[in-house]
């Protein structure tokens, strides 16, 4: 299923709302982990808090899945719910409100494909959140390949057998996935700059 197509997101949300367990599995596999990362970074890496907010966000999303109109991407919609839940959580627990002062660095895009990124740019919270959002909106095969290669550190041979592709085709897929991620980051950063 192609998650870059908004109508596919709408169909998925409708099927989840209709109680289709297979659709729920797809929804969970596709969005649950990036959503957790999004919440985790917003909550300054407080794991237990992130788990609680993550669960309530997923439950709320599932209960209002029929209201998803497809005007935005499904992950953007999930992030909007998560932001509300984070605010509720902070209010309820008396934890300080998010000041969120970092701004996405222009260095990110300028340097991405030309030189090593400075460590502070990589670790900046805004950067981490942008990466999560960018990754969540990539096609499934790009996302799986990138995560397997760079986070789980699997060799290309293993990824190629996992994806049922030849070694060459997997290398080519990874190259296209890296470029797609860079472009998504560029797009998101532009949008962030406009807001």
């Amino acid at each position: 299923m192609d998650n870059t197509n908004p109508s596919s997101d709408t169909r998925l949300a409708k099927r989840v709302a209709a109680g289709n367990e297979e659709a729920l599995q797809v929804f969970f596999e596709r969005y649950a982990d990036p959503l957790f990362a999004f919440i985790f970074h917003h909550l300054d890496s407080a794991r237990e808090d992130a788990e609680e907010v993550w669960q309530t966000t997923l439950l709320a999303a599932m209960h209002s899945a029929s209201a998803f109109s497809g005007e935005s991407r499904l992950f953007t919609w999930l992030c909007a719910i998560a932001r509300h839940k984070i605010t509720d959580f902070r209010r309820r627990t008396g934890k300080p409100t998010d000041v969120f002062s970092d701004v996405p660095s222009q260095q990110l895009l300028q340097l991405m494909a030309t030189s090593p990124l400075p460590e502070d740019v990589v670790l900046q919270r805004t950067t981490r959140i942008l990466v999560v959002k960018a990754l969540a909106t990539l096609p499934d095969d790009y996302r799986s390949a990138l995560l397997a290669r760079y986070v789980d550190e699997l060799p290309v041979t293993e990824i190629s057998s996992m994806l049922g592709r030849s070694y060459k085709a997997t290398e080519s897929l990874l190259s296209r996935a890296r470029e797609a991620l860079r472009q998504r980051l560029e797009h998101l950063e532009e949008k962030h700059g406009e807001n």
Binding site: A32, M62, A113, T127, V131
Partner: protein
């Protein structure tokens, strides 16, 4: 060896992904499977419950049956005078039938209070 732009892009992609989606930024397997199970339970369409009216009707029917059965087979004389095993069996059966409406009532009350 001079690094190409493609090398830089690969290296930066790796660092960005590890910072954003490394193992610490993922839910633990236990919490993940527990959450999926919770969502599955919520999404599963609930089976339509047996209608309250039908339950009440069957309960009443069972109660009438119990009264009729007791009147036909159990008499106070028979219990006190000759307590045979068949009389005892009839008494227990009638008592069971008579209890059914109360069980139905409890079910309806629990549904109403959503316990």
């Amino acid at each position: 060896m001079v690094k190409t732009n493609e090398d830089h892009l690969e290296e930066n992609t790796k660092r960005l992904l590890r910072a954003a989606l490394g193992s610490e930024a993922r839910p633990s397997p236990k919490v993940r499977s527990r959450t999926l199970a919770l969502l599955s339970r919520q999404v599963r369409p609930k089976k339509p419950a047996f209608p309250d009216a039908a339950l009440a009707f069957l309960g009443c029917l069972a109660f009438i049956g119990a009264v009729w059965f007791a009147g036909r087979y159990v008499s106070l004389d028979s219990i006190t005078a000759t307590l045979s095993s068949s009389h005892l069996l009839a008494f227990v059966l009638a008592l069971n039938l008579a209890v059914i409406p109360f069980a139905g009532l409890v079910i309806i009350m629990r549904r109403k209070t959503d316990v």
